[in-house]
Symmetry: C2
Subunit: 150 residues, 2 copies
């Protein structure tokens, strides 16, 4: 039986992390929008002023999932954890890897004194919405995302 291990991500994991990011981007037909690189991600996550944190899921020594988060600030609620992305390699979905990564990230938010955590889900992704509902998640679809690219 394969053994699942969830641990904090390291600099050495970045090439495999980036591969998972690209796998998801291709699935979502957004690969051409990805301008991030292994070099930039290494600097941004493991340089002098890291701007994100991560957990990785390992199975038989292979990196099969990642959770990427950072801290955000709410004028109403103060410090919150923002879960940017959970990615699990497509051939291993439905085995509890995403659940392990999600729960580890929730634990991190609690440990670091956050008043809560936030993330976004695509409105058609019913299985993800059902999964999150079990944790008592509140959903709010009144907002529109706005983006400016430089």
């Amino acid at each position: 039986m394969e053994e699942l291990k969830i641990r904090v991500g390291t600099k050495e994991d970045v090439p495999a992390m980036m591969k998972l990011v690209m796998e998801l981007a291709e699935y979502e037909k957004g690969a051409d929008q990805v301008t991030n690189t292994v070099e930039k991600m290494t600097e941004d996550g493991f340089g002098e002023n890291p701007i994100f944190g991560s957990f990785v899921a390992e199975m038989d020594g292979k990196l099969v999932g990642i959770s990427i988060y950072y801290f955000r600030y709410s004028t109403w609620k103060g410090r919150r954890l923002y879960l940017e992305d959970i990615v699990v390699t497509s051939e291993l979905r439905g085995k509890g890897i995403g659940k392990g990564l999600f729960e580890q990230t929730v634990a991190k938010a609690k440990e670091t004194g956050c008043t809560g955590m936030m993330w976004q889900v695509l409105d058609w992704n019913e299985s993800a919405i059902e999964f999150y509902r079990q944790y008592g998640t509140r959903f709010d679809d009144d907002w529109v995302n706005c983006k400016l690219d430089f």
Copy 2:
């Protein structure tokens, strides 16, 4: 004629910032959800590890508007500025104060090497959507906000 000045927020501005946050929360009927305080906001924004940055708008020596931002991380695009809130005191709306705060925040995102910036707008807020459209903003309403409060 009153003179408008946009500058970086300081520790001394926090009580007036918090007042604007509360003014907006009352308008949005969410005042009971605000658990943030002047003490916490001072620590979070001006302590050893600031987790947000700010600009303030001053008119005749009075603080009449704020912009609160922090840096976020996109696995696709790297470092981005997230505009958490622009608040302008209700009696002075429509005088270009929000525009001044918004443009200063865009400039900050560019200066700090961000690949872009992001924010959210309520889907019924047509005047804000029209305002943002002028800057070439891309809108995306396929996402649902998810929250867990601890």
